[in-house]
């Protein structure tokens, strides 16, 4: 015989006794592997979504508001693409969907889908994806209307950018409904929710948008050669053009479709083109002097035409106002404020020179193409996008326009001009350089070569890699489920440990015998643990099968009742072999460690005592002595609990909060257990005569304090975890108008498909959209600018790679004291306007977004790219308590526009409105701003949607934790049964003395029931203290009803288990036990 065969035969012989251990190991392994497999499945599902949304796309370039040539994409083998936002409605008007992704796609695009199947879109046709078809309830052959904004080369917020609301409507027939495999889910932002998409033929969309040959995105299946891309660029990709300029000198004029040259380009060109100089031409409202007033005049700021402080005027202007050199003139002009807000300002000059109308330098080429101005026949038809007093236009002004068009009437120095008219869009409208006989094509190539696409923020992105990183998930569901199941796993292990200990207690004499026969303690222990290891390994292996079942049940839950946690992601089962190995090894090792820990007491007992059957009882008495210092433990624990609770009020991040949360509760539980231990000791010493069965039962409770404390601790721990975590359920019943609540006190909120440029708080803004003054009474709008990015809220399971950046006028929120701050508690929105020492842009985000979506806290920084492609830092300066602003990083509008001047208009809105008229206001606004695709919803609904995710997690934990507590109560049942079995002799004696079995049952249930109740009370009180910091920080109500129900269920279940276990153990002839003794 070998040790191994001894172990195997022992395992075989005690197989039935090992069933508890097998079950415990099975459960631990099943829950652990199942939890990890849930993580595998979520990741695999996210990867699948990423595969479907990107197909074969590896890389790409998104221009956004920057349009580049289709040719550039073709040169590097990419598929040119137009990505726009819009709204789509059925031609019948029966349904409308906002925030639709409008894609202008050519043949090359379809080749990149997972299937590679070409989708043919003919003239006057569009294709729609499945979600959009579903929402609109349309099919092939139906007619839809697609509304989108005509792009502008320059931000619609820029001065002289022309009028806003240049929308177009495409009436098209649906030629096909695109399936998932054929790019139905295509989108370049990481989200598990398929967008609503309408596909328009690329040439068709280019024509409709008047962007022939231009696109704002490209995608490709393989890495793009950066050198090839740079080599392929042309001036058109920078929206630049060059032409010979008439004048006294032979010059070339570089201008842009964007009116203002980007600083990143103009600075580079002025530096690299020797002898070049800048020009800034602006439309002033009037030029006035004592001699009169000339309306709407172009003024060019160019150094070679005027000295600083002086104005060179043309003869026409001199004649109009009778001006001569030395006269004073004033120019009145608009400067751009926040948004499209214009402020009129005045500047004074002295007439320094008068130039004749036939002077070669008096020509229209100084003026760039102003949309709504340059191409208009009459002055009175101008639509420059700024307020204009058309009544002031005289016939002679019309005549000037007819004769000289945009020829400047005056010139000032460039320094003076830039002082007056520089804005966030640029400080020059043109650059002049000497014409030395260069060929136009050569010069175009030379100038393009001086620039880089990154100067205007055009850079190739590796979408596949980004998608891979995003698919890792913002939430590690494997870790989350392990965490949520931890109590259940622990309960399974405790259950296994308990049964193992009982099993080896029964074999204590064997242990004693082996030691008496010369086996060392280590040999005996190794043999027993190896025997248990065989069972644990078997249980763990079987547990892997159970894990698969557990995962499938969990996935069914996540696809069903727990759908709130996966927000739209259809989960599929996936299992990685390495995950199974990790789960197997972990559960096996953890089981063995548990058994080693559980059995350590037995091996501290002398062989003689074990042989005599005294073993564990002797140790229990020693163990009880460890609690001798219970007063110290109780006092230290109470102080610790109070300290941690107080510290919890100051916690600034999840780790700290979590630490305080469990720390305070645990310390209080320790204190409670220490006090209970002290009480048991006092009772044990007590010499008072026991006069009732109840008092005898009490003696039994204190007879084995270790065992009693184990019952107490198990119940208290279970209740504590389940009750404390449930305290974080977010209640839907909060008042949405409370300013420091999650809604910020706003009644409505929403997004628009297309930017809204107008201020909806002003009369003009409201009139633009025909909003009724009475309907808008009491309505105030807080608009946000939006830089498109990944949703970093809990509604996006992907890990946000480029979190959405939004901007707000901080004062609008600060004056309302909107939203509560979690960290620092005394923070305010004015922090957004403060300047940071290291130049970072201050930002505020929702606490949940920062902690879980971004993994950041106050003081951490994010990196974004500005319009010129340069990186800038955004530093989190404060965190909001749970709010509807989840998923966004919020900065001040001023900082936003400084970095991203092209992001025109507002696309996210919070609305104050009389609560009673909220529906009416929402309906009115949505209708009047239909063309902009405005969609509003009650802010409380959005908050509830966010809360649902957290509540779902808590729900999952409750179910798993509840199962753990039930397993714990089953453990108590085992303890009860064991306890009764040990006492069968004395119980038999009591029966012999005349006690009825029912009285004995009541006594036993009373003993353990009192422990159970004490454990429940300790758990509830501990949880109450532990969640105090969280409740203190937020205004959410405690779901008392739910918690009371849960606790009552646990008590009832525990008492039933105790009764059942005691009944079973008391069954049979107790008197036989007396006779045996």
């Amino acid at each position: 015989m070998t040790s191994f065969s001894f172990i195997l035969s022992s395992a075989r012989f005690y197989a039935r006794a090992h069933m508890g251990l097998l079950l415990g190991a099975f459960l631990a392994s099943a829950i652990l592997s199942g939890s990890l497999l849930v993580g595998d499945s979520v990741k695999a599902s996210l990867r699948r979504v990423a595969e479907l949304r990107l197909g074969k796309v590896q890389v790409g370039m998104i221009g956004g508001d920057r349009w580049f040539t289709e040719d550039l994409a073709n040169k590097v083998g990419g598929a040119p693409l137009i990505i726009a936002n819009g709204s789509v409605s059925a031609a019948t008007g029966a349904a409308r969907v906002n925030a639709v992704q409008v894609l202008g796609a050519g043949e090359d695009f379809w080749k990149l889908s997972a299937s590679g199947k070409a989708v043919s879109i003919g003239k006057d046709e569009v294709a729609v994806n499945e979600p959009l078809a579903r929402k609109l309830n349309i099919k092939v052959g139906d007619t839809i209307v697609v509304r989108l904004e005509k792009p502008s080369a320059i931000s619609r917020d820029a001065p002289l950018s022309g009028s806003t609301n240049q929308d177009i409507a495409l009436r098209r027939t649906v030629s096909s409904v695109v399936s998932a495999e054929d790019f139905s889910a295509f989108q370049l932002t990481a989200s598990q929710v398929s967008p609503d998409t309408v596909f328009v033929g690329l040439p068709d969309l280019e024509n409709q948008l008047e962007m022939q040959g231009k696109v704002n995105a490209m995608v490709g299946a393989s890495a793009v050669d950066a050198a090839k891309l740079e080599a392929g660029k042309t001036l058109a990709d920078f929206a630049l053009k060059i032409a010979k300029a008439p004048g006294s000198k032979a010059e070339w004029d570089i201008s842009t479709d964007r009116v203002f040259l980007d600083d990143s380009l103009s600075d580079k060109l002025l530096k690299k083109l020797p002898g070049s100089y800048g020009v800034l031409t602006y439309l002033v409202n009037s030029i006035e002097s004592k001699g009169g007033k000339t309306p709407q005049s172009m003024v060019a700021a160019v150094d070679r035409m005027a000295a600083p402080g002086t104005m060179t005027i043309n003869q026409w202007l001199a004649d109009d106002q009778g001006l001569k050199v030395g006269d004073k003139v004033e120019a009145k002009y608009f400067v751009v404020g926040i948004g499209r807000e214009m402020k009129e300002q005045t500047a004074s000059f002295t007439v320094g020179r008068i130039v004749g109308m036939n002077d070669p330098d008096v020509n229209r080429e100084w003026t760039p193409h102003f949309p709504g101005v340059s191409d208009v026949a009459n002055c009175r038809d101008w639509d420059p996008g700024i307020p204009m007093d058309k009544k002031a236009i005289r016939d002679k002004d019309e005549k000037y326009w007819t004769d000289f068009k945009t020829t400047p009437k005056a010139f000032i120095s460039l320094a003076d001009g830039q002082k007056l008219w520089s804005n966030r869009f640029g400080k020059l409208t043109g650059i002049r350089l000497a014409d030395t006989g260069q060929k136009l094509e050569d010069l175009q190539r030379e100038i393009a070569g001086l620039l880089s696409l990154s100067d205007i923020g055009l850079a190739v992105r590796d979408f596949k890699t980004e998608a891979g990183a995003a698919a890792q998930g913002s939430v590690d569901f494997g870790g989350l489920f392990v965490g949520l199941s931890m109590f259940l796993i622990a309960a399974a292990l405790v259950f296994a440990g308990l049964l193992f200990v009982f099993m080896i207690e029964l074999r204590a004499s064997q242990v004693g015998l082996l030691m008496a026969l010369g086996w060392t303690q280590k040999q005996v222990r190794r043999a027993l643990l190896s025997e248990a290891g065989v069972i644990a390994l078997l249980g763990s292996l079987l547990g892997l099968l159970g894990g698969v079942v557990y995962t499938k049940v969990a996935l069914a839950g996540l696809n069903g009742v727990w759908g709130g946690a996966t927000v739209g992601l259809k989960l599929m089962f996936a299992a990685k072999p390495e995950t199974l190995v990790i789960a197997l090894v972990s559960s096996f090792v953890v089981s063995l460690v548990t058994l080693w820990f559980a059995s350590r007491r037995l091996f501290k007992t002398a062989p003689r005592a074990l042989l005599a059957g005294e073993g564990m009882q002797a140790v229990s008495k020693k163990k009880a002595a460890r609690w001798r210092n219970w007063k110290v433990v109780a006092v230290v624990s109470l102080i610790g609990a109070a300290g941690l609770s107080f510290a919890g009020t100051k916690a600034t991040n999840a780790e700290e909060l979590g630490g305080m949360f469990f720390g305070a509760g645990t310390m209080l539980m320790f204190a409670g257990l220490a006090l209970a231990s002290g009480w048991m000791k006092a009772q044990g010493r007590g010499q008072r005569l026991a006069r009732s069965l109840g008092q005898i039962g009490l003696r039994n409770v204190v007879r084995r304090p270790g065992r009693s404390l184990a019952v107490l601790g198990m119940m208290a721990g279970g209740i504590f975890l389940v009750a404390a975590v449930n305290a974080f359920r977010l209640s839907a019943g909060t008042d949405p108008t409370v300013r420091d609540s999650g809604t910020g006190g706003f009644v409505l909120m929403g997004e628009s498909s297309l930017p809204i440029y107008e201020d909806l708080n002003t009369k003009t803004g409201r009139e633009t959209f025909g909003l009724d003054a009475d309907d808008m009474k009491g309505v105030a709008v807080v608009p946000f600018r939006v830089r498109p990015g990944d949703d970093a809220s809990c509604l996006n399971l992907n890990k946000a790679q480029n979190p959405q950046l939004v901007a707000v006028n901080a004062a609008a929120l600060d004056s309302r004291k909107a939203f509560g701050f979690a960290s620092p508690a005394a923070a305010s929105w004015s922090l957004l306007d403060q300047t940071d020492a290291d130049g970072a842009v201050p930002a505020i985000a929702d606490m949940n977004t920062a902690m879980w979506g971004l993994g950041m806290g106050v003081g951490d920084t994010l990196i974004y790219k500005d319009a010129a492609g340069a990186e800038f830092k955004v530093k989190l300066v404060a965190l909001l308590a749970g709010s509807v602003l989840q998923g966004k990083v919020i900065i001040s509008e001023k900082n936003f526009l400084a970095k991203l001047p092209d992001a025109a208009g507002y696309r996210f809105f919070l609305l104050d409105a009389p609560a009673a008229r909220a529906k009416e206001v929402s309906k009115d606004l949505t209708k009047q701003l239909e063309q902009r695709g405005l969609a509003l919803e009650p802010a409380q609904d959005r908050f509830d949607a966010f809360s649902a995710v957290q509540n779902t997690y808590i729900g999952i934990f409750t179910v798993l934790g509840g199962l753990g507590v039930l397993l714990g109560t089953a453990g108590i049942g085992v303890l009860v049964a064991r306890h009764v079995m040990e006492r069968r002799g004395e119980l038999g004696l009591m029966q012999a003395l005349g006690f009825k079995p029912s009285a004995l049952l009541r006594m036993i249930v009373g003993e353990h029931g009192s422990l159970l109740l004490a454990g429940v009370v300790l758990g509830v009180v501990s949880a109450g203290l532990a969640v105090w910091p969280t409740l203190h920080q937020s205004s959410h109500d405690l779901p008392l009803g739910f918690m009371v129900g849960l606790v009552l269920a646990i008590i009832v279940c525990g008492l039933l288990v105790c009764t059942a276990a005691a009944s079973m153990a008391l069954r049979g002839r107790l008197l036989d036990a007396v006779r045996k003794e």
């Binding site: 015989m1 012989f13 008496a516 086996w519 040999q523």
Partner: protein
């Protein structure tokens, strides 16, 4: 040199409820030579089993020393005591303490597993089982044996590692008269054949008188 020697051994137990100390052995000195057979008799609670446990290193004295073949057991590590028990001492208890999961042969061989790189003793086990008349039951489980047979297996188990000393604590206590007499005969016979030292604790005067020496314990002391 005596095989085992006790020098002024005292031992007391603490009564947990009353927290008082109850003396069991009071200054016992004893010397047992190799090959001797010794019976220890005395009333219940006089300390017979405690004395035997101290002789077998299953318990340690409060005071005094135990010398096994001249080696002091005082302060010896648990590891060393295990080695001494596996190599030099065999135990027979009142209850057989056979492992139910093992066959008769396996039960006999269990002490050999304690020996590192020990010789294969299966042949010896079979031979000893033949001597005690159980060779035909070597593959039986303890549950399939009678009380007397189980105790004979326990005797063989005690002898398997060729110990110098056999300590038997009321080995016939759970047997009927006939089986008790048979087991006593077996023990005396084996002791004579193998020359092993036998120390027997018993209540039975007749059984004790068949040993070479008889020690009477009274109130924790050797009375004669």
């Amino acid at each position: 040199m005596p095989l085992i020697e006790l020098k002024n051994i005292t031992k007391s137990y603490t009564e947990p409820e009353q927290q008082t100390s109850v003396p069991v052995l009071r200054g016992i000195s004893l010397s047992i030579e190799a090959g001797e057979s010794v019976a220890i008799v005395g009333p219940s609670g006089c300390g017979k089993s405690t004395l035997l446990n101290i002789l077998g290193s299953l318990d340690e004295p409060d005071e005094g020393d135990v010398l096994l073949e001249g080696e002091s057991l005082k302060g010896a590590s648990a590891q060393r005591l295990s080695e001494l028990r596996s190599q030099k001492i065999g135990f027979i208890f009142q209850l057989h303490h056979l492992l139910p999961q093992c066959t008769v042969l396996e039960n006999v061989l269990i002490p050999t597993l304690a020996l590192k790189n020990g010789p294969d003793r299966e042949a010896r086990a079979r031979e000893l089982l033949k001597i005690v008349g159980l060779d035909h039951r070597s593959n039986y489980r303890p549950a399939q044996l009678s009380g007397g047979e189980r105790q004979r297996v326990a005797v063989v188990r005690a002898l398997i590692n060729e110990p110098r000393l056999i300590l038997a604590d009321e080995p016939t206590g759970a047997l009927d008269e006939a089986n008790a007499a048979a087991l006593t005969d077996l023990l005396i016979d084996l002791q004579k054949k193998t020359g092993v030292t036998l120390v027997l604790v018993t209540h039975h005067r007749a059984q004790a008188e068949r040993m070479g020496r008889l020690l009477q314990i009274h109130e924790g002391r050797i009375a004669g």
